[in-house]
């Protein structure tokens, strides 16, 4: 096991989650690389210093470029606001670093493509923070589909709905600023689009309806002045997969009451699966074979028989949480850096997802089906 230097840019929600995962991973996964938390950067020096102390980084900086240039750092983790992902990632790639970037990596597919090409030219490993698909129970789902256990897939219904923008008085912020890209479809839709691809492969066509539910928002909390909102609060997609089946996908950040309705129902000729992130250690499975008196949906609970659950806990029923999924994400990233399988999602995959988002936006504007190109 050799040490590998890590630098994290950003100290917010995801900065903390990444730091946690890099610190935890070597104790859970018996891999060949052990992260050393070298440096954390934040434009706010106090935040950077505090994060360095609390999360256990050796150094802190307000200048992210210096972190990128640090020769002790092989891995750059980017958790700063979405608008700066691109600039930071390109700089890190230019410096020959492996790059772990939060999603979305870019406001549109063209920008994502630039980043993907830079990454592939650099020959480094990239990882994008689509952690939900790292869930062992979803790996099981994917393997069942791939093995044909569900027969030919005949339909998919996916959703990612939360309610953090449901309050019409929630003020205007970067999330609803069109310069950062699309709205709910980028912020939440990217997760369920990625999950759909993870399970079923490429999407070829999309017919989308994007809706701005809250037409204007206070310019700041409590302000009477309001600013018009241009991005989507809800995106409703009908899609076709390259493999032949079709489905629907919804992204919704005004879904009052929902905190993490990220899930799907997926149907095949021989069986079906249903999942929701609200109960991330469970997978519902129906199969057509067997005694019809006993048939029904089986609630599979995650356990050590579903790798890598067993690395977290040898006993079934103990349950993984969100931060554990992030740890798996980091473990697989490090495994790829060490020369193992590249499971991604990498910048290429992020580009593929972004193309679907861009196409959906275009489809909604022209009110017609569009091919993903």
């Amino acid at each position: 096991m050799r040490d590998i230097g890590v630098g994290v840019i950003g100290t917010g929600f995801m900065g903390k989650a990444h730091s946690f995962a890099y610190r935890a991973v070597a104790g859970i996964f018996p891999g060949s690389l052990r992260p050393v938390l070298q440096s954390v950067a934040d434009i706010n020096g106090d935040a950077a210093e505090q994060a360095a102390k609390q999360f256990g980084f050796r150094r802190w900086r307000t200048d992210w470029q210096a972190l990128v240039d640090d020769p002790d750092i092989e891995v750059v983790s980017i958790t700063a606001p979405n608008t700066v992902h691109r600039e930071m990632a390109l700089a890190a790639l230019a410096a020959g670093k492996h790059v772990h970037c939060e999603k979305p990596i870019a406001p549109n597919a063209d920008a994502a493509k630039d980043m993907m090409e830079a990454a592939e030219a650099a020959g480094v490993v990239t990882q994008v923070g689509y952690n939900y698909i790292k869930n062992p129970i979803l790996k099981l789902a994917r393997s069942m589909i791939a093995a044909g256990e569900l027969g030919e897939i005949t339909g998919f219904r996916g959703i990612h709905a939360e309610d953090y923008m449901a309050d019409p008085e929630a003020p205007y912020n970067w999330r609803v600023d069109a310069s950062g890209g699309a709205g709910a479809i980028a912020d939440l839709g990217s997760h369920i689009i990625g999950m759909a691809r993870f399970l079923l492969g490429p999407i070829s066509h999309v017919d989308a309806d994007l809706e701005t539910v809250v037409k204007s928002r206070p310019i700041r909390a409590g302000a009477s002045e309001r600013r018009a909102v241009e991005v989507d609060d809800i995106a409703r997609l009908t899609v076709r997969f390259e493999r032949g089946c079709r489905g629907t996908i919804e992204a919704n950040w005004v879904a009052t009451g929902r905190k993490m309705l990220l899930g799907f129902e997926l149907t095949g000729a021989k069986g079906s699966l249903a999942y929701t992130q609200e109960r991330l250690n469970e997978l519902l499975h129906y199969r057509t074979s067997g005694d019809p008196r006993h048939s029904g949906y089986t609630r599979i609970e995650a356990g050590p028989q579903h790798h890598p659950y067993g690395l977290f806990c040898v006993a079934p029923g103990h349950q993984l949480g969100f931060n554990d999924l992030k740890t798996i994400e980091v473990a697989e990233f490090l495994e790829a850096i060490a020369g193992g399988e590249r499971r991604g999602p990498d910048f290429r995959e992020a580009w593929e997802i972004q193309k679907i988002i861009d196409t959906a936006v275009r489809s909604s504007k022209v009110r017609a089906w569009q091919a993903i190109e």
Copy 2:
């Protein structure tokens, strides 16, 4: 309470259910009309005779026209195959009878319109078998929406999915014969479209994708010869409601594992509702007010506080079943005949639903949004 003569055409699944409801209703509902089961008709005399005996009809017939003409009969219930609904209903209307017809009443909107016009010209009461919306817990849902308890409605996601056509070897039958109209969207979609209208009012536009998943079926069970299928197995609709909100609707009869996934999730600025017919005595309700430490979805269980549950059982928790919903349907039909409120769904409502189905079929063909006209 006065007696009212009833004649039922058809002795199958729905013939039995209607007969049950007409026999049961007066004992449950203290209304002013008491059905007298005068006559049952079936083209198969043995079936008719057997049904008369078992269900308690005074007479049986093989000639449905004779039943329609019977002066002792004021109410004609039509449960024969869909293809003959129109002819029978027009005859019954011509004879001045109140008509209770199973859904769909017609293979297309033009035919439904004829029937609606005939009914309104006759001045009788019509009732169409959309029983699911008769559920007391859905009446609660509707009243909450109407009272503004959920705030402005911001989204709807409805589905009716079952799996009775999922097996590719299930033989070709009347359900998949295009001469009878559309496929899953007519057979199942009509229920969820009607439920959407019941809750949220008219739909103005639709963008649909209809798919034939099982491209051909054996001409009969076990046959090697197959016949091409033209109707939809899955219909995926994006819709706009006149009230301003939008949503999606799916109809699917190849949804392996699902026996009665008829339900919706409906979101408003102040609260949300979720429902599935799989648990028809429950309604999930979220509201934004209250102590945030305690907030969440409340599982409301049907009880006597939700009229007319209390007529079936004075104690909560005892649960209604499918046949009880049919009994409520009949009770409301009789109440309308007696001069009370006309709650429908009547032939006009069936026509409205059929227009949406026809428009969805057209939208799918032209691959574009269509207005409901």
Copy 3:
């Protein structure tokens, strides 16, 4: 199919339910006896007249003895208050009638034994209103146990909890009057004890703790004067079954929030079952065999493969309700009268259940295990 005259005593909750079932049964079950609702009795003449009219009885009476003596009546259904069950049943048996009596049939085992002996001497068929075990999904459960599909049974945990006596200001009434027998253990416990016996056979020993939670109640609604309560609000039993396994049973009518928590979890060496009446069309089933990656509890939904569900509805997923269970109870009673299998629960079974209740009361007093004798 021959007619059989039925008389119902009582017009309340259960009077209505029985009348409904007798009226409905012949239309659902193709049996050999068709009930004719001859007479209904209630000490309140208006109630009797109204019930006769609404439920479709030919006559009504205020004198139940006259109903019992009516030669047109072969079946007497007793739904009057518990305190008069015994007198009425003995009179009906003396008159040679088949007796359908609501539970509990008697305030104690001695009285129940008299009734059982009278019934067996009379050679008629008796039926006691333990309707919940008539559920097709519980018939499935029983058959799985009997067939050994769960292996040797290793534990049982049963409960019947509701909250209709939870409010300390709910006034003193017949339910809490000790002259009528025990409290929650008689009113609710009898159901789960009967269900335990239905599934697993006789109980041999019991160790019980009975508790009066609400020590006194207003003598009438709103009264300031209170009357001490002597009967149990909660009964907690540890039991041994003759077959060797053990378990626990709780009866509780102060279980705030619960409307129908009647259910069990039952474990065997090869599998397990879990059930709650809150979702009476579902049974959870776990089995030890099969691929461990896919193992879990399967939610079996009631369907036509679970007899007699199919008589109510030919399609799965449509769900039975409480009144349907009552109809099955009546159907099986009539089948037994016609010479078919006597499935009970009959007066002997009611006596067996009452013995367990009496023994539990005694066990709680002496604070020790007691054998059922």
Copy 4:
């Protein structure tokens, strides 16, 4: 924030979990102590070396006494087999160390008392591994009870059931060796007993029935020779709490199908709570107030409003897992060491729990109620 040296004894399931928690805690909780993983001990040198490397300890040892004596170590974490907990803990206390010991700390109450007295004499902080009660959603439950939101508590039904000993061919091992103490009631029952005390306070009396379901087990996997089992596989307790309410508790390690059925249903005059560890981020809450048309159980989802969830994740719905609960346990332990509130459970609490276990064993033998002394 000052550093504090930690030594962990044991490298198995709990050794890994403790190491994880000590490594993670400072990055999650902004406390005043930062653990430094000084040393790990295992009788197996390879295991110790491997653990040191993977979990990030500076040193490893095969001699646990040396670890205890290490002046760099202030906190000793004991995760070795149960039989050696006592010896190790007493040695660590003698060395003046704060002790974190896995449960059960001792095979019986007398031994636990010795340990408790030694701890209190030493004036150090002790912590016992009852991590489940560290769940933010259970802290909410406790605070609701304490604030009287549920009214007077009227009943408790608790259980901890799993199935890791359900297979009769699972070989004899230390778990079923009576020299280590009781069986399921010690291994699992201690969790639910501790949870009952956490929520409702002291238990005063117990009436227990302990059962050995699998009477003998193979002396090793696959062996034909079998050894008699003396300890309980299932323990069924009826209990009285000092506060006046009563309840039942079941511990069961042969509950086929159950992986983590640790939970309770708890009823009060004004409301109720239900919980299962199978869905550890949810709490069901019923209250008697409010509009009866909307009443029901509310599914509260853990979020940042439930401290310390927000330290793990600022957004709701993201879910904690088992290892996170362990991290909270360590955080609270460190907080107590730093002079903050001592939330326990400490050795005194472990002794209280063990007394209930011992009393239950005695009660089962004498088949009578026993007071906890």
